[in-house]
Amino acid sequence: MPEFFQLTGIVVVFVTTFLVTFILTPLVARTMRAHKIVGKDVHKVSKSEIPEMCGLAILLGLTIGTLSYVLLFPSAVRETAAFIGTLLIAGFIGFVDDLRPLSARIKPLLTAFACLPILLLGTYTPFPVIPLLGPVRLTIVYPVLLLPIAIAVTSNAVNMMDVMNGSMAGTVGIISLAVTAILFISGETTPAVLSAGLLAAMLAFYYFNRYPAKVFGGDTGSLGVGAALGALSILGRIEAVMIVALIPHIMNAFYGLASVRGLRERREIRQRPTMLLDDGKLEASAEKRAPITLTRLILAKGPLGEREIVQGMMFLTAVSSILAFLTYWITVVGKT
């Protein structure tokens, strides 16, 4: 597809997704508040109640935005359908989890099923491109094992990062900016357009979710958004690049899980990684058995406010996104 059409697609999806998400987020928030679906802002002294599950606006914004692309370019229907399907299945699992919390062992298993649209529509290439190695043939293991793991890991890693005001939208926004650029450069038209949609949704949602948050995305938003990142890595054949871009998320999830020795719900973990001080700042817990999360690592040098912690997460994500660019470059050099 010529570059002009590629750019047109990106602009159309970006504007549509941004506007729909931006308009819908306060409407969803009002509905959630009316139905008393609210969560406590635990990192504030006031512990104010904020509307939950507003990630629904992200799902709707992305669905409508990317469908507008299919109306313009019908040839992209399969990849777009696979992307929307994955997003909505993971979002639905998050929706159920928000209303009736699922066990920490069941949730990753269920999110793995969100890869079904990609699998059934055949929008994957079982030759993942590995840096320094190039494409490797995994025609059997890729669809059976790696595809479900990719979606489960990305959706749950992003979900575990959604702990502070703006942390999920801010960090995923940075990753989707980098991924859009990488996919655009590599000529992966449809995944680049879908990634631009994700960037737009994150920007619109960040406006409401940033410190001090007026809305919470809930698992509806974070599982859906994480699965969308996983889907982009598969559709755009940038699996290794995505792993590098998600280093802070993997750091947060893996260390959290490793230090509490297994999959456990936040509610099941007695030792908290941080403590809220009287002045509203957070301090890293000195408790040996508390999980070493990214927040606790950022707080190692001393107490910080929630806004500074999220800025720290975004800085680390910007570093990992630059490394993702370098990984892509190494991969391209390796191929030529």
């Binding site: 590995i130 059997i140 094992l145 290794a240 280093i247 893996f254 606790r296 190692a300 990992s320």
Partner: protein, 83 residues
């Protein structure tokens, strides 16, 4: 932001280890072959390659954890000592 430089350095370090891991995967894991004439041989080859790659990735994650753990506890104990 200056406080985050050690964490950014850890990111760069684990990225370099990741590249080293992919090099090892290419030399060790993808050297495994049980042939590809039959479906069983193909499944065995791919499974062995993924399993060997998984072990290398697990070692990568453990190295990463060791570095991060030592950074965290050293920083916390140094802060306690100066407080």
């Amino acid at each position: 932001m200056r406080n985050l430089i050690p964490l950014a350095a850890i990111e760069v370090f684990v990225w370099l280890i990741l590249l080293l891991s992919t090099f090892l995967i290419s030399k060790v894991a993808f050297a495994i072959s049980f042939g590809d004439a039959t479906l069983i041989q193909r499944v065995a080859t791919e499974t062995a390659r993924v399993a060997a790659s998984g072990v290398i990735i697990l070692i990568w994650l453990l190295v990463w954890k060791r570095v991060t753990d030592s950074y965290f506890w050293r920083t916390v104990s140094r802060r306690k000592a100066t407080a």
